[in-house]
């Protein structure tokens, strides 16, 4: 158990890396990029879905991370800090663009862990509809929903990432879910997908 404001375990390594990056150490820049590129990409992907601008968004997120590192004191894990910055970049992106349906061809034809290829094809379409529905949801609620429900992060972690409280985060997730289910009322495939994901069959 740590006291408020005290560094997290492993904070020395995080602080050291952050300081080296802030000081302009190129090897440190590369190391941080390699260490966190999967996290940044996954965070953006979960919030935004498949997206043509993904490379640019990953780049933007890292630039914001590097710009912010002079302020990093080690109170939170570096991974949480990186996720936080990345979520902000996603929020800025959502706030600027107009909602549009995710085109089918952007959804990858990759193998899903389902029992058959048919369920995989159905799952692909349902994912497309999920993200199309999420486009219509308030960005703050969408981010909380995506990180907690789709990505499986705890409410506490999502609260830390979104710089909010657990109670507020839970409320956002609940409101996003309510909105999503309302839209799914007109879309049996999406409704079935959501019910299956929640194990309510």
């Amino acid at each position: 158990m740590t006291t408020a404001g005290a560094p997290e375990p492993g904070a020395d390594d995080d602080r050291s890396l952050a300081q080296r990056c802030a000081a302009g150490d190129r090897d440190a820049h590369r190391k941080l990029f390699q260490d966190y590129k999967a996290l940044v990409h996954a965070t953006l992907y979960r919030i935004l879905g498949s997206n043509r601008d993904m490379e640019d968004l990953v780049q933007d997120a890292f630039l914001e991370v590097f710009r912010s590192l002079a302020r990093f004191r080690g109170e939170a894990k570096l991974s949480t800090w990186v996720s936080r910055i990345t979520a902000r970049v996603a929020y800025a992106y959502l706030s600027k663009k107009r909602p549009s349906a995710a085109p089918l061809e952007l959804v990858p034809e990759t193998a899903a862990p389902g029992p058959s290829a048919e369920s995989h094809a159905v799952s692909r379409e349902a994912t497309r509809r999920l993200y199309a529905a999420l486009e219509r949801i308030d960005p703050v609620q969408r981010i909380a929903f995506a990180l907690h429900v789709i990505d499986g992060r705890s409410l506490r972690e999502v609260a830390a990432i979104t710089e909010s409280t657990v109670v507020a985060t839970k409320s956002r997730v609940w409101r996003a879910r309510k909105d999503l289910y309302k839209r799914a009322g007109r879309d049996p495939l999406l409704a079935s997908y959501l019910a299956d994901q929640e194990g309510e069959r």
């Binding site: 302009g24 190129r26 090897d27 440190a28 820049h29 590369r30 190391k31 990029f33 390699q34 590129k37 990409h41 996954a42 992907y45 979960r46 879905g49 498949s50 993904m54 490379e55 990953v58 780049q59 890292f62 630039l63 590097f66 089918l104 061809e105 959804v107 990858p108 034809e109 990759t110 193998a111 899903a112 862990p113 389902g114 058959s116 290829a117 048919e118 995989h120 094809a121 799952s123 692909r124 994912t127 999920l130 907690h148 429900v149 789709i150 990505d151 499986g152 997730v173 609940w174 879910r177 299956d196 994901q197 929640e198 194990g199």
Partner: protein, 318 residues
């Protein structure tokens, strides 16, 4: 609300995509750390500072344009992909010579005097003339970066890591934040554990086999006995498809046979297989066959996920 039981799979970025992103980030950081012009004590030139900022912005814009393949700035980025099957391939990049070993794939990115080689799989042997004032010749393999100033060496990819052997000269290997100089006669990583010392490593070595060394199990024609008791471990359509995809470069005829088998069935794997077969035939230079297959794909699956690609490929052929 509980998290999803089966969250959607995350579409990975390609190695080249990651390379572009990393290059863009590091270039912007380099610009940001460039020293600001000194201020004159006697007179202020705010308009000069504004010009300096504008110049930086212009350079940043040019750099970002340069990172876009084919995006026509002063020194456009040129990329090319080389994939080998059973025979090696020799590539000349100015005064650098590469041998791409069989069963390997590289992407070469050139911009002005910078050369970067992304090793996607297999092994590449490099002979690089001294770079002198030019940017180092770089080989990227997974999370390993090899910077060369003039030498002869080989890089083999191993998952996200790599092995480097230096025959002449010196290279620097950057991995996990550590920079190591590897000289002629040395290899990186240094220590290769003998099988007797570490049975686990030997087992791992057996598991990491090259795809072309693994033959697919040919699906058996069903017999009366099979119908009564189906083979418990018959490959799934997805496994057949994955096997065919792996065989494309080393044994395209076997890949074609598997795609044909899958395409004769129904369902999404049939669609995937039919498109892949058509695309493969085009790659092999069998244009009539490739076109016929892609048209068949569009007739059977006009709204299939690969329909736009199929139409684009057919349009290229016209």
């Amino acid at each position: 609300m509980t998290p999803f039981r089966h969250p959607p799979e995350i579409e990975p970025l390609s190695d080249l995509g990651w390379r572009r992103v990393e290059k863009g980030v590091l270039a912007q950081l380099e610009l940001a750390s460039a020293p600001a012009p000194a201020r004159s004590r006697r007179r202020r030139w705010p308009w000069a500072a504004g010009l300096g900022l504008a110049a930086c912005a212009a350079v940043a814009l040019l750099l970002s344009l340069d990172l876009d393949p084919g995006g026509g700035a002063l020194d456009p980025l040129r990329t090319s992909r080389i994939e080998t099957a059973d025979a090696p391939s020799h590539v000349s990049l100015g005064d650098a010579e590469l041998v791409v070993e069989p069963g390997s794939a590289i992407v070469v990115a050139e911009q002005a005097d910078q050369i970067e080689v992304v090793l996607e799989r297999g092994t590449v042997d490099c002979r690089v003339a001294p770079r002198q004032q030019r940017a180092p010749f770089v080989v990227l393999a997974g999370r390993v970066r090899v910077e060369v100033v003039g030498t002869k060496f080989a890089v083999s990819r191993d998952g996200d890591s790599a092995r480097v052997v230096v025959h002449e000269g010196v290279v620097e290997v950057l991995a996990g934040g550590d920079r190591t100089r590897v000289r002629a006669g040395e290899r990186w990583p240094e220590r290769e554990v003998a099988a007797a010392e570490s049975p686990t490593l030997e087992m791992e070595a057996e598991l990491v086999e090259r795809p072309e060394q693994r033959r697919p199990r040919r699906p058996q024609r069903a017999t009366r006995a099979d119908a009564e008791e189906p083979e418990a471990d018959a490959p799934t359509p997805q496994e057949l498809y994955d096997t065919a995809a792996r065989l494309e470069s080393s044994d395209p005829a076997a890949a074609v046979a598997l795609y044909r088998q899958l395409a004769s069935r129904n369902g999404p794997w049939a669609a995937n297989a039919l498109f892949a077969h058509g695309r493969l035939e085009l790659d092999r230079g069998h244009h009539d066959t490739g076109r016929r297959l892609l048209r068949r794909y569009l007739r059977r699956f006009p709204d299939g996920a690969n329909a736009p690609d199929a139409r684009a490929l057919l349009a290229d052929q016209d």
